[in-house]
C-alpha cells in the first residue's frame, strides 16, 4: 500500500472513532502524540485531549456518525481533506447547551496534516456552526437578517 492510500485509510479510521462502538486502542500508532485539533471554538492539544473529545461527542450525540463519501476524500503525501455530514441526536449537554433531543445534520470539512511516519499531526475542522447552533436551538439572533 502506498503512502497516499494509507493516508486515506487513516482519515476514514479517524472518523470511525466518533461512532459509539469503535475501538480507541492503539491510536498512538496513527495519531501523533502531540496532535493539534483546531476548531473555530476550541483548540485541543495532544492525543489524550483528542481521545476525550471522541468519548465526549459519542456520549452527547446518540448514534453519532460522520457520513463520508470516498470520492470526497482528497489526499496528498503529507495532507488530506475530507467532506462529511455529521448526524446524531443530542441527548446530553454540549458546551453549555442543554440536551435538546434534536436530531442534527451538519455539513463540514476536515483538513489533515501527516508527519513523516504517516501519523496525523494536525486536524482543522470547518463546521457549519451557524446551522449546528440553529439545530441545537442555541442561536439567539438580535435581529432578523
Amino acid at each position: 500500500m502506498n503512502r497516499i492510500e494509507q493516508n486515506k485509510i487513516t482519515i476514514i479510521r479517524f472518523f470511525e472513532c466518533f461512532t459509539h462502538d469503535a475501538s480507541l486502542e492503539f491510536q498512538e500508532n496513527w495519531i501523533h502524540e502531540d496532535v493539534q485539533f483546531i476548531l473555530s471554538f476550541a483548540h485541543l492539544s495532544g492525543l489524550t485531549q483528542v481521545k476525550n473529545l471522541f468519548l465526549k461527542e459519542r456520549s452527547v450525540f446518540e448514534n453519532l456518525n460522520y457520513n463520508l463519501v470516498q470520492s470526497n476524500i482528497v489526499v496528498e503525501e503529507f495532507s488530506g481533506a475530507a467532506f462529511w455530514n455529521m448526524t446524531g441526536k443530542q441527548v446530553y449537554s454540549w458546551n453549555g447547551i442543554p440536551a435538546t433531543f434534536n436530531e442534527v445534520n451538519v455539513p463540514g470539512a476536515s483538513l489533515f496534516s501527516f508527519d513523516d511516519n504517516g501519523k496525523i499531526k494536525e486536524v482543522r475542522i470547518q463546521i457549519d456552526m451557524f446551522s449546528f447552533m440553529t439545530q441545537l436551538n442555541a442561536i439567539k439572533k438580535l435581529y432578523d437578517f
Binding site: 482528497v74 467532506f83 458546551n95 483538513l111 442561536i139
Partner: protein, 146 residues
Amino acid sequence: MALSPVENNEVCLTFFHSAWNTGVVLEDLLASDAIDHSFVGGKTKSEPGSESFKQIVGMFRHAMPDIQITILDEIFAADKVVHRWSLTGTDTGGVMGMPASGKSLTFTGTTTVRMNDEGKIAERWANVDELGLLQQLGVVPPPPGA
C-alpha cells in the same frame, strides 16, 4: 484533455483570486454545466451556472469593496482541489442587508472544486464560518467567556 492536479489548482487559484480580489468571475474557467453548492443561512443550496457564485461575490464585494482572499491551505489530487481560505475586508456597505458596521471583518472557510476533463471548474462546494462572521457583526452574541 484533463489537466494535472497542479494545473487544476492553478486554475482554481486564478479563478478565486480574480473573483474575490477584483470582482471578475472568469466564466471561461467554468464548465457550461457547472454546479455551485453552498450553505447559506443554515440551508444547502445547489444551483447551476455562475449566477449563484456571482451573487455571493457581488454581495460581499458591495459590502466590503477592499475584500481580499488569502489561501491558507491547498490540497489537490486527481480531479479535486481543496482550499482553506480567509476573506478580510472593511464593512463599508453592509453585509447581508445589514447596516454598514465600519468594522474590519475576517471569516474563514473551505472550498472544494471538482474539475472536468476539459480543465474547467465543474462543481464547487463551499463551507463558510457564517457564525463567526455574524458574531463579528454583532448579530449573534459571542459565546459566554469569549
